[in-house]
């Protein structure tokens, strides 16, 4: 009886010959990521050491990554003070994988980790952010945890009491139609599985379509796996993983691709033929409320958001820019663009995408989480509707419980910006 990639990674990280779904393990942590909420992690970390007489030093600062992205530049004195405290901790402990508010090496944590080569196939990655599942796109076992759990990981170097999750295999075949892509695939899957259909489980993406999909597209799938409740989403490392890390990131050291055995045991297999998919949207107020764009076409939108850890990469910006190039954002609609990192921002500038957006009337913002979590930069007014390439549409998500958020691909969002209503990009001319 073989093992899944998740079981293999957890076994290796726990120093065991094999691990089966349900076994309780304490995997060593290869990478521990936090963003601004490192402020809370630091607070909890110090509390752990209180009264012990032991120095409060992280187990391995080289394995800690801290990236400011949720509220950059700081929207309030409180955030600025939190960030200041985190900087002091970073300096005190020599944390090198620190990305401050910067236009060159700054950006969203889930973009920075792959882009800088911090994530490698076979790693165990924990992050104080639910979308840490993203990093499964590089063949790592990556999952979100709370701040106190991170403080514990900083102290002990292990993730505590993990039951190795059973795996649902997602077998993907076919080729995407024009203006249909990985965002539509993952929305389809979340709609099918429901918001808790993969709770306490791993989603493993396999099949010819995945083999041919770029790392950017894989990041979309793994990023939103958590919206079906998954502990982790994973694409086992393969030729594309090697290409991405070697050619795009410049990694030269050996890579260790961990794959599932042919006779691995899955809880079930879900098959999807993407050639039949059409553009989809997740309707308010749950991510699993998924409908074809045709079902909601014509709905007026006051704000369009392109960006986030889900869809703020260069291919996303290229697709959106191609749709708005030489045209204009509809009167009464605001279009906001947030590249996922400073590196992507610079590339999008060089390739002319940013001037396409601005000439069309969009506002190009700095790299970061933007309005996705409703803190600043693009809150919605009462009764307003947004269509966004982000990953969540919960009530209140974009800063106002009296507003509505639809989720879509960059193509649907860009087409909707031109018309001011939710629009099928296959019909926009």
């Amino acid at each position: 009886m073989g093992s899944t990639v998740a079981e293999k990674i957890l076994a290796r990280a726990s120093g065991r010959p094999a691990v089966k779904a349900g076994d309780v393990v304490e995997p060593r942590v290869d990478l521990a990521m936090s963003h601004e909420n490192a402020a809370l992690v630091i607070n909890q970390f110090r509390e752990i050491y209180e009264g012990t007489g032991l120095p409060a030093k992280p187990w391995d600062p080289s394995r800690i990554a801290i990236i400011f992205d949720h509220r950059v530049p700081a929207e309030s004195a409180k955030t600025a003070t939190n960030q200041k405290r985190v900087r002091a901790f970073v300096a005190e402990h020599g944390i090198a994988k620190f990305h401050d508010v910067r236009g060159d090496v700054g950006g969203i944590c889930h973009q920075i980790l792959p882009e800088r080569g911090y994530v490698r196939p076979g790693m165990v990655v924990v992050g104080t952010d639910s979308h840490t599942t993203s990093h499964g796109a590089l063949g790592a076992f990556a999952f979100g945890i709370g701040a106190t759990e991170m403080a514990s990981a900083w102290a002990l170097g292990v993730a505590l009491n993990i039951e190795a999750p059973p795996t649902i295999r997602v077998a993907v075949s076919g080729s995407f139609q024009k203006h249909v892509g990985p965002k539509d695939l993952i929305l389809h899957l979340i709609g099918f599985l429901t918001a808790q259909g993969a709770n306490f489980r791993v989603l493993e993406f396999t099949g010819e379509t995945i083999a041919n999909l770029s790392t950017s597209g894989r990041l979309v799938l793994c990023n939103m796996s958590v919206e079906a409740g998954a502990t982790a989403g994973i694409v086992p490392g393969d030729a594309e993983t090697v290409r991405y890390l070697r050619e795009e990131v410049g990694v030269t050291d050996p890579l260790d691709l961990v794959t599932s055995d042919p006779d691995a045991v899955y809880e079930k297999t879900v098959s999807v033929d993407v050639s039949k998919l059409e553009p989809l949207v997740a309707c308010p107020h749950t991510v699993d409320n998924v409908k074809p764009v045709s079902a909601v076409a014509g709905k007026p939108v006051q704000q369009v958001v392109i960006g986030s850890c889900t869809n703020g990469r260069l291919d996303d910006l290229a697709e959106a820019a191609a749709i708005v190039r030489g045209k204009h954002v509809a009167a009464g609609t605001r279009m906001l663009v947030f590249p996922a990192s400073g590196k992507i921002w610079a590339e999008a500038l060089r390739l002319g995408y940013l001037s396409d957006f601005m000439a069309a009337g969009a506002v190009v913002m700095n790299a970061g989480c933007g309005p996705c979590l409703g803190v600043h930069e693009g809150a919605l007014g009462d009764g307003e509707t947004a269509i966004s390439t982000t990953n969540r549409n919960f009530k209140g998500r974009m800063g106002n419980p009296g507003a509505e958020v639809y989720l879509s691909s960059p193509a649907v969002a860009a087409a909707s910006a031109l018309t001011g209503v939710i629009t099928d990009p296959r019909k926009e001319r």
Partner: protein, 179 residues
Amino acid sequence: MARAKKTVTPRVRKADAARVILSLGDDVSTDVIYPGRFMATVLPSETPALAFADHAEFQAAVKAKAIPKGAVIAGGENFGCGSSREQAASCLKGHDVVVVARSFARIFLQNAINLGLNVVVAPGFTADEGDSISFEGGGVENLTKRTAFDVVPLPFARQAIIDAGGLIAFTRARLMARA
């Protein structure tokens, strides 16, 4: 489903003290429990004032200090879905409430255990605001509606953290044992 042999009994002071103060449906997200715009507020001492910040009645009760210890928040499926923000657990822990839901999202459930927030998984559970809930005998009983529900034990490996009094104490003990 068999009635669980070992369950986590919420620290309810008196059986009749457990009243449902808030009854919610499925997929209650952490954005609803603790809206993202308050995420710069992190300390467990400061988050309880912001619990369910957009829920007018709950907030009125918070301001009036009218949330009795051990009061029940009733949820449906997938309670606590979404963000990993620990404030969603710490803000409820500060009110010493018990959350009873049909199921919980993984990260919220773990955060609750880590912080010592009482959570009870009871498939099929239903309750309206004002109902009286008893936890005697290891199950959940809605005394008002005369209905009873089995409790699913929390994931086995989590019991050690609960027994230690939360993750901070648990990890502290591990560090001391190593030293």
